[in-house]
């Protein structure tokens, strides 16, 4: 197995005048070539900051990478100079964001924005870059690509702009595409188109995709593997089908159960009680303990490790950690009153 991207013990914190708030607390995972891996979690779980840390795009925010390494092709991206990093960004690694309008320059024509990257990274002459840009737009399913080249972002719809973003991200044939909530701002019918497009990219060009999302539906639709994050940590990792079929961590289980499903007539939804803990004031022990239906004594005292079991699944929960013997299991509390 060749890990194209390996993240080891990544720690990122936001530092303000008087306090440091760690939002990514020792995250480790690997993405293999040609895979689509999803990082899923609710707002504040650190999934977006993880992706920004990988791309080293935290400049200009108060975010700082404190520790860890991000190995891409066996070089640690965190050691590279900003200049070298810039060469990697947009070349062998690119990123698309939730809101295409914030990442496209509103006063430049689509064509010009596309060609800039192509001329910079691929060193194509202008005419060739133009032709290539048009072909890129066509390949992401944009009709009348020639005329779109001369239009501005505000003249296009959200779905179109997201396609332009993908075309731009894909134009230099990156090996790794990081997509941060790429379909969250889009309507379902358009989301279906974009997800289809991403699957195609993988099939045709063997692009590796790291997908950051809060939507389990999107994960189950396109991802081979899923990483579940909670409170800045990975709590579960495994093949998508297996994780959805048989979630190990109570958080994953709660997340899956709390999503309403079409055609499944339940009078009440399972709801995870309580709230995500405040990152500035993390509880001791397992960060999910306060909301967990299976909470045990040890959970509030010591945080479990992320362990890999015999099936190759990873989870961070005392329920499965063999060495734990003492204590007693607290009754399963029904939190929905059903």
């Amino acid at each position: 197995m060749t890990g194209l991207l390996e993240v080891n013990n990544l720690k990122t914190a936001f530092i303000s005048d008087d306090k440091t708030t760690q939002v990514v607390r020792g995250v480790s995972f690997a993405v293999n070539k040609g895979e689509i891996v999803g990082i899923v979690g609710e707002s504040g779980c650190g999934k977006s900051v993880t992706s920004l840390s990988i791309m080293r795009l935290l400049k200009g925010t108060s975010g700082t990478i404190q520790d860890g390494e991000v190995r891409f092709h066996d070089q640690n991206l965190l050691d590279l100079s900003e200049q070298k990093m810039r060469k990697i960004r947009g070349n062998s690694m690119s990123m698309i964001f939730q809101d295409p309008m914030t990442s496209l320059n509103p006063v430049l024509k689509i064509g010009r924005q596309l060609m800039q990257g192509i001329m910079l990274h691929l060193k194509y002459p202008k005419e060739k870059a133009r032709k290539y840009a048009v072909s890129m737009l066509e390949s992401v399913g944009i009709p009348r690509a020639e005329s779109i080249m001369n239009e501005y972002p505000h003249q296009l719809s959200g779905g179109m702009n997201q396609r332009v973003m993908i075309a731009m991200a894909m134009s230099c044939n990156p090996e790794l595409l990081i997509a941060d909530e790429p379909t969250t701002a889009l309507d379902v019918t358009i989301q279906a188109q974009i997800l289809e497009l991403m699957k195609e990219l993988r099939e045709k060009q063997n692009t590796t995709i790291l997908m950051i999302t809060h939507d389990l539906g999107v994960v189950s639709e396109v991802c081979d593997r899923v990483i579940v994050m909670y409170a800045g940590r990975v709590v579960e990792e495994g093949k998508t089908a297996e994780v959805f079929e048989n979630p190990k961590h109570p958080y994953t289980e709660g997340l899956i159960k709390s999503m309403p499903k079409i055609g499944q007539k339940q009078s009440r939804l399972y709801a995870i009680p309580g709230q995500v803990p405040d990152p500035a004031n993390m509880p001791k022990g397992c960060k999910f303990a306060a909301r967990c239906p299976h909470v045990m004594d040890i959970c509030t005292e010591k945080e479990p490790d992320l362990i890999k079991d015999e099936e190759g699944r990873k989870h961070r929960c005392w329920l499965y950690q063999g060495e734990y013997e003492g204590g007693e299991k607290v009754d399963v509390k029904s939190s929905t009153g059903n």
């Binding site: 005048d17 709801a271 009680p273 309580g274 709230q275 995500v276 803990p277 405040d278 500035a280 306060a290 939190s335 929905t336 009153g337 059903n338």
Partner: protein
């Protein structure tokens, strides 16, 4: 499950860390030293305003013909004027007048401008157009010319100076508040208020106005300096306080004739105006950085 029993998944309370304006003010001022020092000077000025008459070294109105036009010395730190009155004592007493005129004029203008701005921004349409065109016309005159004209009509005197300055500061308040109102009016919670049946008057007073207060406060602070200068200018031109009063502008005006051989008569009142206006503006800047939603990051 019984019908009446409602199970609410009791949410545990999460105190989101967002400090109050006051805390942010203190924290930001810790970084912005100029604003902090300005605040100290302003507090000192306020103390002088309050306790002025009791802390003067001499009686400010007492003429002493033995020591006329004396240069600054240990006895008279800021010298004496043509009647032998102690300049420092006059400055201390005059702070009340000068600052008083500035503050009350701006407050008056702020009240009028805020009312007009709220009405103009909230109701829009022809009301807005009428109010804003009148403001445009007033903007077209240089402030001081307008004030001179006003005082010329109303007659000289401190009260009329206040009215004149309030009059020409009204349009700028109206404009600022109108801009804020236009923006707040479109926010979702205003629609939510309408959906529960709140009347317009309630929406304006309880929901729009509180949102504009911080901007208004900033703007008041920044305008007081200008108003003090205007008041001093009007007094200097003989349209404001009577020449014998210790108002700073009037003091400057009265000492015009002695500029050649008693420089301190011009220098100290000028310095008082200068420092007061400077600290008010610096403080206003600092305040804006904290309070004004537009400059907040």
């Amino acid at each position: 499950m019984s019908e009446t029993q409602i199970t609410t998944d009791q949410t545990q309370f999460v105190e989101t860390k967002q400090d109050s304006n006051f805390k942010r003010l203190l924290r930001s001022f810790k970084k912005n030293k100029l604003a902090l020092y300005s605040l100290y000077v302003i507090i000192l000025l306020l103390l002088i305003v309050i306790f002025g008459p009791w802390i003067t070294p001499y009686d400010p109105q007492e003429a002493n013909y033995d020591s006329i036009l004396e240069a600054p010395s240990w006895q008279h730190l800021a010298g004496t004027d043509e009647f032998g009155k102690d300049v420092l004592s006059r400055l201390i007493v005059g702070a009340r007048l000068s600052l008083g005129v500035g503050v009350s004029a701006v407050l008056l203008g702020a009240v009028a401008g805020t009312i007009l701005g709220l009405i103009s921004g909230f109701f829009g349409k022809w009301v807005d157009r009428v109010i804003m065109r009148i403001c445009d016309i007033l903007f077209a005159f240089p402030d001081l010319v307008l004030a001179i004209a006003m005082v010329a009509i109303l007659g000289p005197g401190m009260k009329n100076v206040i009215i004149a300055i309030a009059f020409f500061s009204t349009p700028s308040f109206a404009r600022i508040v109108r801009g804020e109102t236009l923006e707040i009016k479109e926010r979702l919670f205003i629609e939510a208020e309408r959906s529960i049946g709140a009347k317009k008057s309630r929406i304006i007073l309880r929901h729009v106005f509180p949102q504009t207060i911080s901007t208004i406060i900033v703007y008041i602070t920044m305008n007081i300096g200008g108003a003090i200068i205007s008041a001093a200018s009007l007094s200097f031109l003989g349209l404001g306080a009577s020449p014998s009063s210790p108002e700073w502008g009037a003091m400057l005006s009265a000492s015009r004739d002695y500029i050649g051989h008693a420089f301190h008569l011009i220098f100290f009142p000028g310095l008082a105006v200068f420092i007061t206006v400077l600290v008010l503006n610096l403080f206003g800047d600092g305040l804006r950085d904290v309070l004004d939603p537009k400059t907040r990051d």
